[in-house]
């Protein structure tokens, strides 16, 4: 091991053009990776492989699993609950990635080059803090807050509607199967919006102010500047945020658990909640493992695409970097 790493060290030094000086023998840097390597093996790799393995078996969590090949996956294909949960995932992607990114862009641009310029950076910082606040809240707590606000009897939203004379708009926001998914989506937009906003505002600081000044001199209005300067300039941030938020949306669990428990009648079930109930309530461990494996494959595929994209963008930006 020492030999290979020694070689690796020299290769790395070669990049810095200083490979001529003779060096003392050294211990391997790879040793520093050892604790992390063992920890990941035990906590991530082994459980992950076990989960994948179990997905090809029939297992109730006790006794030994019996091999069933692709039976679980075949069953999934015909399981309307499974398809529904992934359909709801797409709604979550809209609520947690698409809408927050779009809103976050407009908000970030408005706060950055409008509020900060005309009303001071402090005002912009305070407003940003307000939008960001829900991000630090445990999702379980956000769920309690919102399920109380959205409660059918005596809930604040319904009371508010009544108070302003829109009593007929009152709804059982989380209990109506046609409405529950949209209510959860609304809550998720509230939860998520701060993240894109903060990232985009930081990204905007990179943009050369001269670009804006030049555009302003050319008579470009706010929207034109937003479209032709802001958007292209912070494209790396936009793609990273979209990717991260999409992955977060596919993993959403706590909000559904606390707000609706997947109900009413499965109207807000999502893959992670579906696998959770299959694991721990129905104790069909093999089937639950199959659900989570499908979810994992989708998420890893997305992550790989994002990783490729990001590496390529970085290479293009700075030339090929080690």
């Amino acid at each position: 091991m020492t030999v290979t790493v020694e070689r690796g060290g020299r290769v790395a030094r070669g990049h810095h053009g200083a490979a001529t000086r003779p060096r003392r023998p050294r211990t391997s840097y790879a040793l520093f990776l050892l604790p992390g390597f063992i920890a990941f093996l035990v906590v991530v790799v082994v459980p992950f492989l076990m989960n994948t393995g179990v997905s090809f078996t029939d297992w109730q969590g006790v006794g030994s699993p019996t091999w069933s090949g692709l039976a679980n996956y075949r069953e999934l294909m015909d399981d309307s609950e499974f398809w529904a949960s992934f359909r709801h995932s797409l709604f979550m992607v809209v609520a947690m990635a698409v809408v927050p990114t779009a809103l976050g862009l407009v908000l970030a641009a408005a706060l950055f080059d409008f509020v900060a310029q005309h009303f001071g950076t402090r005002t912009a910082a305070v407003l940003r803090a307000c939008f960001y606040l829900p991000q630090v809240l445990p999702i379980a707590v956000a769920g309690i807050v919102w399920s109380w606000i959205l409660a059918p009897d005596n809930g604040s939203l319904n009371e508010l509607l009544k108070a302003v004379g829109l009593g007929s708009w009152q709804q059982d926001w989380l209990g109506d199967p046609d409405l529950a998914l949209y209510s959860v989506m609304g809550v998720m937009v509230w939860v998520q919006i701060g993240f894109p906003l903060v990232v985009f505002m930081a990204g905007l600081q990179r943009v050369d102010p001269q670009l804006y000044e030049a555009a302003e001199l050319d008579g470009a209005g706010w929207w034109r500047r937003f479209w032709h300067i802001t958007l292209p300039q912070i494209r790396p941030e936009i793609s990273v945020v979209l990717l991260w938020c999409t992955i977060a949306a596919l993993k959403v669990f706590g909000a559904v658990y606390v707000l609706t428990k997947g109900g009413p009648g499965g109207a807000t079930d999502v893959p992670s909640y579906f696998s959770f109930t299959t694991f721990f309530e129905k104790t069909q461990v093999g089937y639950g493992a199959a659900i989570s494996t499908v979810l994992t494959v989708i998420i890893l595929a997305l992550a790989l695409i994002g990783l490729r994209f990001q590496t390529r963008a970085e290479d293009a930006e700075e030339g090929v970097r080690v």
């Binding site: 790493v5 309690i144 005596n154 893959p271």
Partner: protein, 273 residues
Amino acid sequence: MTVLRRYPVLAALVIGALFMVLPFAVVAVNAVKSPAEYSAHGPLSLPRGLYLDGLKDFWQRVDFGQKLLNSVLISGSVAVGAAVLSVLNAYAIGIGRIRGRTWVLAFFVLANTLPQEALVYPVYYLSKQAGLYDTRLSVIIVFTVIQAAFGTYLLSSVLGRFPREIVEAARIDGANQWQVLWRIVVPVSRPTIGVLLVFFFIWTWNEFLLPLVMLISNDNQTVSVALGVLQGQRLMDATMTNAAALLGVLPAIVFFLLFQRTLTRGIAAGAVK
């Protein structure tokens, strides 16, 4: 731009911001109302007096002090453990530039995106076998590793840009790798490590799925899990719900005020790098 057009935009943004914090205000207002007042005037009236018995009852009923202690213990241990693990990994990748580091890094990134659903059952099963089920230690171990995946990713890229001359100079002066790490790399990278500590702490504090599965006894539960379970049981009346929400919100607001700068800056750094 004219003043006439300026203010509507600001007004719209302020209304948006108010909408974001309104739920917090509504919760705070209702947590200090007595049940009688709540049922007489509903959730939108301002409180007539300060009624703290609801909060006190809730605190005692769920033994909230214990839950806070568990959350602090778990999140604190994870933050420190994960930071140490991240530093060690990133030292090998970013400064040691070990062979195949791109692959090692890709592995950590993928481990970071892995959904916990794909780990939860085996982790649950293995911890039962190891006698660690329903212990705070099990949750600490799992999250130390999971958070370290992100930390390794972030720190590796930071250390990749670490000035090589400093490391080389220390080596020539006879420092071994450990000394270089603890006396030079760690002190210089303190700001990034600080960001990681804050992030790990808050993320672990907010975690839900794995602690929900792993911590079933009352004495071990975190704030998040205890509140989530209570809410899931649908046993709370309005006053209790608001007490629960307020007590859940308060630590988050404290962290937010303490770490606002670190959080907003760190997120930007983490996302783009």
